[in-house]
């Protein structure tokens, strides 16, 4: 199976993670290239309230612009947008962000499924979605949609993930293009930079 996008162009990267994914993010971020020329959206499950913490942690580990996603904000290349705790993040056709306080999905808000599906619909075969460690099955349905629209599906290797359940569910139910150990991810993401 192809390990790169059919069109060769990545217009957006979406990363979803739950329990055990923070360590992976902290490992990936210092190695991300400053030349990344697509927006990165991050959806992680966490408790509402201490919202700026994750943003601050990641900000200190990369030269890319890291910010909490704001509603109606336009996605820009080289920016990392973090879905705020307690809101679903959707992407509009004009590449702006919509936030949504509707019912939880898979007991989660933000839900990874919601953002994967929305990004797949908008960016079709120009989106790359990565599912990391976690202990529920959020993200699986979303990855199916990404596949359907021709986007690229990457899953963290469940054998080396600190919580195997979420990536394992995805590996079982979705045909991923790649299963990656965390230390290979930054290199892969940097390889998505288009000319």
């Amino acid at each position: 199976m192809a390990e790169t996008l059919a069109q060769g162009k990545c217009s957006a990267l979406v990363i979803g993670g739950s329990a055990g994914s923070l360590d992976v993010l902290l490992e990936i971020f210092p190695s991300l290239s400053i030349n990344i020329n697509f927006p990165i959206i991050l959806v992680t499950h966490r408790k509402a309230g201490n919202d700026s913490l994750l943003t601050e942690l990641l900000k200190n580990r990369t030269s890319l612009m890291v910010k909490e996603a704001e509603e109606k904000e336009k996605l820009l290349p080289g920016y990392v947008y973090i879905a705020p705790a307690d809101y679903h993040l959707l992407v509009e056709h004009n590449h702006t962000i919509s936030l949504d306080y509707s019912e939880k999905v898979n007991y989660s808000r933000p839900s990874i499924d919601v953002t994967f599906q929305s990004a797949a619909e908008v960016f079709k075969n120009e989106v790359v979605c990565i599912l990391l460690s976690g202990s529920n099955s959020d993200g699986v349905e979303g990855l199916k949609t990404v596949n359907k629209y021709g986007g690229l599906v990457l899953i963290q290797n469940p054998e080396t993930a600190s919580m195997a359940y979420m990536p394992q569910q995805a590996v079982n139910e979705v045909k991923p293009h790649l299963i990656l150990d965390s230390f290979k991810m930054a290199g892969y993401i940097n390889g998505l930079i288009h000319k």
């Binding site: 704001e70 509603e71 109606k72 705020p84 809101y87 959707l90 992407v91 509009e92 056709h93 919509s98 936030l99 949504d100 306080y101 509707s102 019912e103 919601v114 599906q117 929305s118 797949a120 619909e121 908008v122 349905e141 949609t145 359907k148």
Partner: protein, 272 residues
């Protein structure tokens, strides 16, 4: 849920039908959100074709009632964002307390949790007897629930924690009586509320207020519609009145934002 069961053109068609047949205008709602709501309802109610769904929405009054209830988001809670309520308690309501009479508009009140939270604050500051809370929503069925002031018992633990974090000092359970799986809030709280339907998209200003609360409603509107609603609020707010928005909403990019001053770290603005 099959996300692409309905395509963008069909969403447009359906929303045009809704406007023509029922007079509700959803065309300026954020597209991704409203599409997701529509797709969700379509699969929830197991329609076999879009044509059948469209026909039901257009012609079946009973089904349209459900449609309206389900495509608008009615998720809410009491004392949501405790620091926000703390700021209402410490910064806003004491100022309004100097007025002889307090008029508050909770726009998009859903099932009423925020209106009841506000009434509790007013009660604790001894202001409830000179206050009136106008609680409005586009959706008549949620207003029926709001009027009753009954909420599921299993949510109350979270509400009570929010209340304490927001600076509440009383025993939260003194405000309600539990009955099986529901609690009913004291009727003296709702005696100061007026419930009415109001559509922020198409209805006009109906009074002047000293405080307008509209939280997590504007996130579902596109930018143009948000700005129209800000004008509506501006026309409905007294000078030196307060406008309170949801934690991810902002007045910042609105043309008249300079006439408003924001309070500290909260999404509360004062009209200058």
């Amino acid at each position: 849920m099959i996300i692409d069961a309905i395509d963008n053109e069909q969403v447009e068609m359906l929303l045009n039908d809704v406007l023509e047949a029922h007079g509700y205008d959803f065309l300026e709602y954020s597209h991704a959100s409203i599409k997701r709501r529509i797709t969700r309802l379509y699969s929830l109610d197991s329609f076999v074709s879009f044509a059948e769904f469209r026909y039901a929405v257009k012609t079946d009054k009973q089904y349209f009632k459900r449609f309206l209830e389900e495509i608008t988001v009615n998720v809410t809670e009491m004392f949501r964002d405790p620091t926000f309520y703390k700021s209402l308690r410490n910064d806003v309501l004491p100022v309004l307390g100097t007025y002889p009479f307090i008029r508050i508009w909770v726009a998009g009140c859903s099932t009423g949790e925020e209106a009841y939270s506000l009434a509790i604050l007013l009660r604790e500051l001894n202001l409830l007897n000179k206050s009136l809370i106008y609680a409005t929503d586009i959706n008549p069925s949620v207003l029926e629930k709001a009027k009753k002031g009954m909420f599921p018992l299993n949510y109350l633990k979270g509400y009570s924690e929010n209340y304490v974090q927001s600076g509440g000092l009383k025993d939260f359970s003194s405000y309600y009586t539990a009955n099986y799986s529901l609690v009913k809030f004291d009727e003296s709280l709702s005696s100061k509320m007026i419930f009415s339907t109001h559509n922020l998209v198409s209805d006009h200003s109906f009074n002047e207020f000293q405080l307008i609360l509209c939280r997590n409603v504007l996130i579902y509107f596109d930018k143009d519609l948000q700005h129209k609603v800000f004008h509506l609020f501006d026309n409905s707010l007294e000078k030196l009145g307060y406008l309170a928005l949801g934690s991810k909403e902002s007045l910042d990019f609105w043309a008249n934002a300079k006439d408003y001053k924001r309070i500290k770290n909260e999404k509360i603005w004062r009209k200058l």
